[in-house]
Symmetry: C2
Subunit: 228 residues, 2 copies
């Protein structure tokens, strides 16, 4: 038969459907995700999916949760010292970004869909634990974790969408960045003086350092709060 699953437990389960959707998303891009293709991926006809899943919306929720499969919690046991909390939060943020960036196509489709499943709450729990563990109060912990997570996701969304779009168009990241820079520099300078001036700074491929900058500012802000 044509399309058969390749990994994991055999049956047609909700879990396998979510995995298949994710696999398809990553392989064929956002437009390549249809019920029929997901069905084919698990070796079944499209209508059969509706036995396991209410509709496509629910499948996407499942996929959004399955995205976090294998997102390991921080190296267990070692409690976070009061001095090292900054570094711990930093590596947690970097891991978060890396994980999302590794599924750029999925991020593009599933953005804003994180919450329905328990697995997608893993990162939140991890960060909450970190903050509470070093003395932040309940309210501050909740707000700080929320700030950090929304920022990382907003950042990665901006990073992943052009990446995934460029790939779909058959361009390298470097080309895409260069084109973005040119578009900025070509703007009317009297209306957008600073954008034109900073075109080079804004559209470089140096996303790593940009992420580090934002993270440092955010952690500085949290440190100031903690110092009170």
């Amino acid at each position: 038969m044509a399309g058969r699953r390749t990994t994991g437990a055999p049956g047609v389960t909700r879990e396998n459907l979510a995995d298949a959707a994710l696999r398809l998303l990553e392989r064929e891009g956002p437009k390549g995700l249809s019920m029929r293709k997901v069905a084919a991926e698990v070796g079944v006809q499209a209508a059969s999916l509706y036995w396991h899943v209410r509709n496509k919306e629910e499948l996407l929720d499942l996929a959004a949760d399955a995205l976090w499969e294998g997102y390991a919690p921080l190296p267990e046991g070692r409690t976070v010292t009061a001095e090292a909390w900054r570094d711990c939060l930093a590596v947690a943020s970097h891991r978060l970004r890396a994980h999302l960036l590794a599924h750029a196509n999925a991020v593009r489709v599933l953005a804003g869909r994180f919450a329905p499943g328990p697995r997608s709450l893993g990162p939140m729990e991890e960060i909450l634990a970190l903050l509470r563990g070093v003395g932040f109060g309940p309210a501050d912990t909740a707000d700080a974790a929320y700030t950090l997570l929304t920022w990382v996701q907003g950042f990665v969304l901006h990073e992943a969408v052009p990446m995934s779009a460029a790939e779909e168009h058959g361009a390298t990241p470097g080309e895409a960045a260069a084109e973005a820079r040119e578009r900025l520099a070509a703007l009317p300078a009297e209306r957008y003086p600073h954008l034109v001036e900073l075109a080079g700074e804004l559209s470089g491929p140096g996303m790593d350092s940009r992420f580090a900058f934002g993270l440092a500012r955010l952690l500085d802000g949290l440190e100031a709060l903690r110092a009170r």
Copy 2:
């Protein structure tokens, strides 16, 4: 005839198509946006759209740009004093959030699509000007503006998606928040101890104060950088 445009200059232009798409998005939600309906909204058959627009993707880019029509630049003229830059950045951020939140349905569809048009760069230019005006260097300005914008968009995305989804489902924001809290509280406490403990703090409808918190931390971080 059935559907006719109601405002603006008469012809079928790219601009009017973008407006119609935006209007439709807000009125009927994300699934209500089809080429046929946009065409009907401007009083024309679907195929005619392709004279003005390459495809739906391009229409959405246009709409993402048109979202920023009427986003007035800050009260002109008055230069920002070195003491007031914090407040200025804060009101700029609040205006940004309010503007996005006023088009929650559109945000849900157009997320990550901000960049193609010049109008959507207005907020960026505004913030760049502010930062440069108070002494930040070129690189810091670019990174800081990027951080701020990505955070606001990530925040609003998380805020707008459940809002728009709940409305589609016919629920009030309060009900949606209560349901979210219950879902968090019902999680396995041994796997997600902090999420369960902080369910109340995390899922309250107090989005305004949560936004203010994140903004304050970010501005604190920027202030620390500037003080060096």
